[in-house]
């Protein structure tokens, strides 16, 4: 056990039991998995990515490169979870990963003996030939050996949600600068959100030994948290990582609502995705301690000096029975002293500098810490760290230690400042990159800005909090900023110990060593972005938060151009990995998108309908009857019933747009290719609309209800788009037109009754209106009442080619109308039909639909060219006259019958001249829609064929290389049924 005798922000009164790799351990509330494992003497936590070297915890935060584990089991298993951020809970279960058969004995650790061959670019150089082996052999083998944890293969049993938050000032990070900023802005009355990644506020203050306002730093944290919690307009969000910055002051954050529990509480999500819209933001994300590169710097037990101090001070854990610190800077020294002060036996403090600043030297002396100046660690030993070799002017010596804290200096955690393209700049005096251009509305304070001392963090945090609140319109009362002593921040840039021996790692997560940076340099991959891609330095879950600096410093030394000129790679969102589940939120499974039921949905369900998704809508596809062996039999019955007697279908899904005003006629003339201003009141007309480029956009009927009142129908698919199009035309193209439009798609249920007996059925549901052929002729419109006083509009239209009507009633009456029609039609054998039969009926009639209005066809292609008026201008007119559109060879709309009538046509088949080779050069068109026609007793098709209309009677090949099929078809008129259109006019 290496739990220290006292100290730490853990609740020693309570014990939590947990399991790691099947073994049971205990820890305390306040522990992370990493601190609890260290407290149990478990230093081996993972195997490295490439060489499978034993690895231990390296940090105490989300920047962790090494200690990645699989958390939980079964459906809740989460791979690559950082042990350093997992809050310990009762019953926690975790497994190490990337090892076989066990963490202690990993067979792939033989890779470490191959390390001379496995350097940067190894795969590119080795698996070059034969090329055919790559896909089948090399890549699968490499993929098996590589990768980290394994994802759960079962559906995630937990829920996730999203939420929006708005504030005046968003403060990111709750260390000294963040707390000071939140206090200043909160006191000014601004709405503040304080987001903290950790489960506890305080950041470095949880480890800090210096006093604030004369009291321990942790007391300041408690006081600040209490004050912030007392302010109603301040929201404190612990366990919340702000991971992305977007335009307009929008920040994305993930709140780990239940990750610290074995399972989420009832009704609670596991995580919540926040979109925070902030007028101003203060980034106070602190800095990372970065490693020094030296041989064997990856042994379990080697960690950052700040991590060593954090485990000692915050968690009351000695990372080893004995420890040492190797540093080049004052913060590293302070971390060593804090560690020793917490009760860890510190064997030595090794500093590359010739002397420590006097105050720190005095403190070291007071604590009895041995200081080795001008010293360097040149080697380590043990599978788990057991010793160090230290070189100094006094000579070379070995130290027996189990833990080594290393600190190469502070790297500002400026990740978020890059998300909108900001490029950090290098400051020689700090040996660090600091933010330069910032996202609009975002300020930086504290260590992230290179303000490393505690006093500076508090002062700048307060100042930025005041300023952010003022920018958002809140004047801060002048309260003094919290005061602290200046903490020392001196540094002597130092990146790499020049010594031979074991591999010296730059990037622990990707097993990139100093040698690999050398290879990249030698082979010309010198720019930082190339260095990253070639060596994988800075990739994967930690994105090089700790390793990037040393990597580019080594490259800068090799090229001799200096760190500032070498520059740094830029960060993109997310700051830390984000689970896909939380990005999906509520929208999973059937809630992936809305489902819209039609007004007659429940009725259709009672009839046993099989439904099909059409956009958001759920529509009846067909209505199987007992004894029918397949869908085709049902559809054939529905088609036959409609053609011989009467069929009924809910067509409420069409878009419906109400148009009013003195200029509606002119407006419709401009949006349709054909004339509407001449349409008589009480009549409907079929119309076609083009896009500006002359291709057909949509079709439908528009009826004139009154002198200045029309109602338009659009296709189901384009309902929303057409309303937007008309709005655009009115607002942008012709703002002078006096037209008011309103969507009435949801207001009206609409049911189509088709077939020779449909008039007899209609007559029984209208309240006495005359629906005879004379009173309500083809394309006539009747405004009346049905079912005893329900307002209704009856349009005599036909998509099936039969006598037909569409009856619209207010939506709440839609189901009742369907029932009334069914009752009225029962003596005639009225038959409900679905979208399948609807398709067959229109294909038999040769009416175009979505498959033909496919964004590639003009009105002329569709055989509708003669509808286009030559007496007016309309959208798409000019470009529809382009030479290619008028080319006689252009594929035109025709019908097809298989020469062998028993053969089945396939939509998507391409049309070739008989005997011609199946090449693009011979392609003459394609089949768009096919159906089995029960009326004709064979398969029929519609499509586009080169010079189509002129080739009726010819034979062509329908060639379908995708699904197989190569048959001869006969070209015919697209109207297979009633080409003269007599049936719909009776």
């Amino acid at each position: 056990m290496t739990r220290l005798a006292h100290g730490g922000l853990i609740n020693r009164a309570r014990t939590l039991s947990f399991r790691f790799d099947g073994k049971s351990y205990t820890g305390h509330p306040g522990d992370t998995l990493a601190s609890a494992l260290l407290a149990n003497g478990v230093r081996l936590m993972g195997r490295s990515f490439k060489y499978h070297r034993p690895r231990g915890v390296f940090t105490a935060g989300s920047e962790e490169p090494n200690a990645l584990v699989e958390l939980r089991a079964g459906a809740r298993r989460e791979p690559n979870t950082r042990a350093t951020t997992i809050e310990l809970f009762e019953g926690l279960e975790a497994q190490s990963q990337n090892r076989w058969p066990s963490l202690d004995h990993d067979l792939l650790s033989v890779n470490r003996y191959l390390s001379p061959f496995l350097g940067a670019g190894f795969y590119y150089k080795t698996f070059m030939w034969p090329a055919a082996f790559w896909e089948k052999l090399y890549e699968p083998a490499i993929r098996r050996a590589a990768g980290l944890g394994a994802a759960a293969a079962l559906p995630d049993p937990d829920t996730y949600e999203k939420a929006f938050a708005f504030c005046d000032v968003l403060v990111i990070g709750s260390g000294p600068a963040g707390l000071a900023a939140a206090l200043a802005a909160g006191r000014a009355g601004a709405r503040v959100i304080l987001a903290e990644e950790d489960f506890r506020l305080g950041g470095r203050l949880l480890t800090e030994q210096a006093a604030i306002d004369g009291a321990p730093a942790r007391d300041f944290v408690s006081r600040a948290e209490a004050e912030l919690a007392s302010l109603a307009h301040v929201r404190i969000m612990p366990r919340t990582t702000v991971f992305g910055v977007y335009d307009g002051g929008e920040y994305a954050a993930v709140e780990r609502v239940s990750d610290h529990l074995a399972v989420p509480a009832p009704f609670q999500p596991r995580q919540r995705l926040w979109r925070i819209i902030a007028k101003r933001a203060v980034l106070a994300a602190g800095a990372f301690d970065r490693p020094i590169v030296f041989p064997g710097n990856d042994r379990p037990g080697v960690m950052t000096a700040q991590a060593l101090a954090t485990y000692a001070c915050r968690y009351g854990v000695g990372a080893g029975a004995t420890a040492a610190v190797f540093t080049n800077n004052d913060a590293g020294v302070a971390a060593a002293l804090a560690t020793a002060g917490a009760g860890v036996k510190l064997e030595a403090l090794i500093d590359v500098r010739p002397a420590l600043p006097a105050p720190l030297a005095a403190k070291a002396k007071a604590l009895g810490v041995r200081v080795i100046t001008s010293g360097e660690v040149i080697a380590t030993s043990g599978k788990l760290l057991t010793g160090l070799t230290v070189r100094s002017p006094a000579g070379t010596e070995t130290l027996a230690v189990e833990a080594l804290g290393i600190s190469g200096g502070a790297t500002p955690n400026l990740n978020l400042t890059c998300h909108l393209g900001g490029k950090p700049v290098y400051r020689e005096d700090l040996a660090a990159f600091v933010p330069a251009t910032l996202p609009p509305g975002l300020a930086v304070a504290g260590a992230v800005a290179g303000q490393f001392s505690l006093a500076d963090c508090l002062a700048y945090g307060t100042a930025e909090g005041v300023r952010a609140a003022a920018d958002a319109g809140f004047t801060a009362p002048t309260l003094p900023a919290p005061q602290a002593e200046e903490t020392a921040t001196g540094i002597q840039p130092f990146w790499q110990v020049k010594a031979k021996g074991d591999l010296a790692f730059v990037d622990l997560q990707n097993d990139v060593s100093a040698k690999d940076v050398g290879i990249a340099h030698k082979e010309g991959f010198r720019a930082v972005e190339l260095l990253k891609r070639y060596t994988t330095l800075g990739m994967a879950t930690d994105q090089g938060k700790t390793s990037n600096m040393a990597g580019l410093a080594l490259m800068a030394e090799l090229t001799g151009q200096g760190i500032a000129a070498t520059g740094t790679t830029l960060f993109r969102p997310p700051y830390t990995p984000v689970a896909l589940g939380v990005l999906a939120g509520h929208h999973r499974d059937k809630d992936f998108r809305p489902t819209r039921p039609t007004p007659t949905h429940d009725w259709a369900q009672r009839q046993g309908a099989v439904f099909v998704e059409t956009g958001f809508w759920l529509r009846a596809a067909y209505f199987p009857k007992p004894g029918e062996k397949d869908w085709l039999e049902s559809v054939n019955r529905e088609v036959n019933a409609t053609r011989s007697a009467c069929g009924v279908i809910d067509v409420s899904t069409f878009g419906k747009i109400d148009l009013q005003g003195p200029d509606v006629g002119i407006f419709l003339d401009r949006v349709y290719i054909n004339m509407f201003s001449t349409l008589a009141v009480g009549k409907a007309r079929y119309g076609v609309m083009l896009r500006e480029d002359g291709l057909v956009m949509d079709d439908g009927t528009t009826a004139r209800l009154g002198e200045q009142h029309y109602v338009m129908t659009t296709t189901t698919a384009n309902a929303g788009k057409m309303f937007q199009h008309l709005e655009f035309c009115l607002q942008v193209l012709w703002p002078d037109l006096d037209v008011q439009i309103a969507s009435v798609s949801e207001q009206w249920a609409q049911i189509a009754v088709s077939g020779p007996r449909s008039r007899a059925v209609l007559a029984q549901v209208v309240d006495g209106a005359d629906v005879s052929n004379a009173a309500l002729p083809f394309m006539g419109v009747l405004q009346t009442t049905v079912m005893g006083g329900v307002e209704a509009r009856v349009f005599r239209l036909s998509f099936s080619g039969e006598l037909g009507y569409e009856i619209a009633v207010p939506a709440r009456h839609g189901a009742a109308l369907m029932e009334a029609l069914m009752a009225a039609g029962a003596p005639f054998g009225i038959t409900p039909y679905g979208t399948e039969a609807l398709g067959v009926l229109r294909i038999e009639k040769g009416h175009v639909s979505g498959s033909e209005l496919n964004g590639q066809t003009s009105a002329r292609d569709l055989g509708l060219g003669r509808m286009a008026s030559t007496k007016k201008d309309y959208i798409g007119r000019v470009l529809s006259q382009r030479p290619a559109f008028l080319d006689p060879d252009r594929p035109m709309f025709v019908g097809f019958k298989p020469v062998d009538r028993s053969a089945r046509l396939k939509a998507g088949a391409h049309l070739l001249p008989p005997g011609a080779e199946a090449t693009t050069a011979h392609d003459e068109g394609y089949m768009t829609s096919v159906a089995y026609s029960p009326t004709l007793g064979h398969s029929i098709g519609l499509g586009f064929l080169k010079r189509g209309a002129a080739r009726i009677g010819e034979q062509v090949r329908a060639f379908d290389p995708v699904r197989g099929g190569d048959i001869l078809v006969e070209v015919c008129s697209p109207a297979f049924v009633d080409p003269e259109g007599e049936k719909q006019r009776v």
């Binding site: 939420a163 929006f164 609670q268 509520h586 929208h587 809630d591 005003g661 006096d738 207001q747």
Partner: protein, 202 residues
Amino acid sequence: MSDLLAQVPVTRLPPEGHYGPAGTEGVRARALEGLAAATLAARKGGTGALIARLTAAGLPLVDGPKVLFHEGLTVLGTGPGRWLVFAENTTGPALLAQLRALAGDDVALTDQSDANLVFELTGPAVRDALAKGVALDLDPRAFAPGDVATTVVAHVGVTLWACEGAPTYRLAVARSFAPALLRWLTPGAAPFGFALSGTGRG
């Protein structure tokens, strides 16, 4: 998808009842019955005249995202020169006639009584529940009683307005999208305790 609604068909409104921890009621939602509705749009260039005429008739319309509550009428500004009017205890045709009498012939009136379902949401946690999908700042500093917005929630278009009294909102949603909207709201409101009424027994 939440287990809470696993047994409810996606085409149906979640049945009335209590969702969430027993004994809590942070959010209440009620489907409002018997509302008639109509859109009212001014003719081109006629907004000023229409507002003057209606103001003289005691209905001081505002050309903006504001709500006017007046003798059983709720008038929502939904766009420049456009309003959505709800009326209690009447029918669509009767509402159209009433508005025609007030506004005269020179306006566009369209019955929308069957187009929307309207829900009233209230309770101490109503803003927290709405924040799970409404991308609007609902703090009274930014969205006070009398403010209205048309927005998109969980891929569903809604019109939302703030009413007088302890946080109370009304929300109009297209009829066919109402099940999807409540499927979003119910699991999000359940942690606070969610009492849903007016949606039938399921």
